[in-house]
Amino acid sequence: MAIIVNLDVVLAQRKMKVKDLAEEIGLSVVNLSILKQSKAKAVRFSTLEAICKALDCQPGDILEYVPDEN
């Protein structure tokens, strides 16, 4: 996967739990866990905006591009 989701890193820095973030942004824990594991098919701008607002961060802090080895 070329796009890595660093949500767990940002959450750890903010000392926040997935459940708390899910509640704050109105997303289910399942969906947030899927996103955290980079298994989501796509991310909506509205979701990204809500996460950035709740975690006081930039989209670049959450999403990272890593070139594939092959």
């Binding site: 399942v30 969906n31 899927i34 594991q37 098919k41 796509a42």
Partner: protein, 168 residues
């Protein structure tokens, strides 16, 4: 192919109905026995349909009175998350979850009667194969030999809803 199959069933149902009314008088003993047998099977199926203990009975190929449909879908999502995701999606559909087991990753859901069917039972379980999660979907029409592709449509609808819900 679907049209041919549906047409075959229409012809079969009409033919059996005509032959039955033609050769079996309504006040005969045979007509009474046939009616009672159909009624008994109907009642039996409705009495047991919401019991998970009869899963193998409904899924058995011997039980030709219940139309069945099975499908397998592979997901690149851990099994525990996929199980929760399926439950979440089912909550937003017409299916009513009767039983779910997070240890064996099994879900049993039902639909109510509608003008199209006598109700359906949905058995979903999850397994892991080569690092992927496989969703095994079984849909059973409780008292319908032919389902007019309704089971397949339900399966496709559920799979599409799961796919859509992966856009977060």
């Amino acid at each position: 192919m679907k049209v041919v199959r549906n047409l075959f069933w229409v012809v079969a149902i009409v033919t059996v109905s005509i032959l039955y009314t033609r050769y079996v008088p309504a006040d005969s003993k045979a007509a009474f026995i046939v009616s009672m047998v159909i009624l008994s099977i109907f009642t039996f199926h409705f009495a047991i349909r919401k019991s998970l203990s009869f899963k193998s009975y409904f899924l058995s190929p011997v039980n030709f009175l219940s139309g069945k449909f099975a499908s397998k879908t592979s997901y690149d999502i851990p099994i525990d998350l996929m199980f929760e995701k399926a439950l979440e999606v089912l909550e937003d559909t017409k299916f009513k979850v009767q039983h779910s087991d997070s240890k064996s990753f099994e879900i049993f859901a039902t639909t109510n009667m509608s003008w199209q069917s006598w109700g359906e039972n949905l058995y979903i379980d999850f397994t892991e194969e080569n690092g992927k999660t496989i969703m095994n979907f079984h849909s059973v029409a409780v008292m319908q030999i032919h389902t007019w592709e309704k089971n397949r449509k339900n399966s496709e609808h559920l799979i599409n809803t799961i796919e859509d819900s992966l856009i977060i």
